[in-house]
Symmetry: C2
Subunit: 344 residues, 2 copies
């Protein structure tokens, strides 16, 4: 990792064994289901009247984050993207398992900083560590996190249950993170140079630090028909939701909420619209709900300090559409070459 | 992957998208909690009177398996080592999440073979896929599998509950897998060349294909005080179990069960004893139990077609021992430089 000049060089850290690392660094993060991290498995007691929601996301250096991102930022992203899934399903965090695959050359003080930041975030969202696995790799730093949440019986908010006539909305703003990624991957672009420092910091922060919308989860359970978090890009994720629900929908690009920083970038460089709408890593919640719940949802979002913006609606099912989603802009249909981030 | 000559060369496979791969290859493996793999999360309903046991293990090419192992064998190992943990905790499989981190050059037909073999094993052990994540990596093939099992309330068999006076036993035979690994990593060793082909096949199979001892899980719940599976080596794992239970113990190396193939290897090359006892990947169950349950456990093991061998006992706690485990051989104490496989 690059150090400012004059800063002491990284000292080879005293190597802790895996057992000591678990006992000294990880065990303090453990919740009751983790059994002190002294067993081979975690033991989850699901309260009567609840179901367990579980999801896994792997994050790989060079794909989902940069190996030289601050270890604390990597930690916030690894836990944050999984908490974002729990939020979108209307669940309350219960705990997580962490599988760490570490290159031998990753400095142990970076691992320490990673674990500390993970602990801070886990406490903030009341989602303790309950177990995990650590192994060495010849490849890039890779984390795979399995998150658990609780929902009252039958109340998980699914992706497959959007209904004809629903409105389509998103929390927060779209595209900041994809633009924040460009700050790093394409720093010489003209739009970046023209942007004030505070706007650049805002976009960078949005890329580094997903904000799981957990405070909004109970309102999703109460008022939404369907939801998912926006991780692979708004357009592609909405198309997935509609397809999974056997519905079609229409959005108006003019209504998609952008932050002032993103607005400024789009003004400078209009072709960034595709990046903003399809780049992903937004970790906002995309939801559909019946129009009569709009006011209650708007109020609920406001009380969480969140914007909630209606961007379209679920149509009557069109016959055999080539795409389930129609994207309108100033009365014209638009299309994009890719709807979302593709791993393969 | 090396192909026999005359075999058609690997054709560049038509690339399936991630969505198609999920729908066509993975969804047929999904259990009800997986919601058809069409949502962002799995939804687990734990029956009244049960708790959920969960464990995660990552397997990395070049660490836990060879990149050129048959994809079907990799699949059996990835699922097998996790099912082995469920068995050792006395639980019945419920399902699993699979996080796959794939190098772009891994042929898609190998992925197909991997998934097919995973499906066969998942059906055999009634442990369906319930969700997962697929991402690309610049590094080695890496799988992280989170397994779930059910246990009646309060009956998970822990690692921390061995009691003074318990007998210590293991299922099956020890060391085969560590010796099987040497067949590949040190093929020119004299002991290997002196070994008949069927013995080499046996050891290779033990390395490639862990056999989770799930049939024995109900008997562990009924009769054992403590258990864990032997994954990092008998000596190190037993020391961990004793330490976690705040106990000390003694084993007699002469009683550790070896297969005929391992016996033969040890006869040719006595220094392999350390490999056999500390090399790991045995995926047998190490348990402690009160002596009055010995006969019932022996009968239960026999009815599962398993050997169960008493190898020592849990002592009265010795004062501040340097190691919780005393290893005896022909009346003399032995020690090993490493008790188990160390990742760091």
């Amino acid at each position: 990792m690059a150090k400012p000049s004059g800063f002491p060089k990284t000292q080879p850290a005293k190597l802790l064994s895996e057992d000591d690392m678990i006992a000294l660094w990880l065990a303090p993060l453990a919740g009751p289901a983790g059994l002190g991290l002294r067993d081979d498995a975690a033991l989850i007691t699901v309260p009567a009247g609840f179901q367990l929601v579980t999801t896994v996301d792997a994050l790989v250096a060079g794909v989902h984050f940069f190996a030289d991102d601050p270890p604390a930022s990597i930690a916030r992203k690894v836990l944050g993207v999984n908490l974002s899934d729990l939020a979108a399903k209307g669940s309350t965090p219960f705990g997580f398992l962490l599988s760490m695959t570490l290159p031998k050359q990753w400095p142990q003080q970076d691992l320490r900083a990673f674990i500390e930041a993970l602990g801070v975030m886990a406490r903030a969202f009341e989602c303790p560590l309950i177990g995990g696995d650590t192994t060495a790799t010849s490849g890039p730093l890779t984390f795979s996190l399995t998150a658990f949440g609780l929902v009252p019986d039958g109340q998980m908010v699914k992706r497959t249950t959007a209904q004809t006539g629903d409105l389509i909305a998103v929390t927060g703003t779209i595209g900041d993170s994809a633009l924040g990624l460009l700050l790093k991957s394409d720093p010489d672009a003209a739009w970046i140079k023209s942007m004030p420092a505070h706007a650049r910091s805002f976009l960078r922060d949005r890329y580094l630090h997903p904000q799981p919308r957990l405070a909004f989860a109970p309102s999703l359970r109460r008022y939404a028909h369907a939801a998912m978090d926006v991780s692979d890009g708004l357009i592609g994720d909405l198309a997935k939701l509609l397809r999974a629900s056997s519905q079609t929908g229409t959005i108006d690009v003019e209504t998609v909420p952008f932050s002032p920083a993103a607005e400024q970038a789009l003004l400078q460089e209009p072709s960034l619209l595709q990046t903003a709408l399809t780049g992903g890593d937004d970790y906002e919640i995309l939801l559909t709900f019946p129009p009569n719940h709009q006011e209650a949802l708007q109020q609920a979002a406001q009380s969480c300090g969140l914007a909630l913006t209606v961007i379209g609606s679920v149509d009557r099912l069109r016959d055999a559409p080539s795409s389930p989603l129609k994207i309108m802009r100033q009365g014209e249909a638009m299309s994009f070459t890719h709807g979302s981030y593709q791993h393969f």
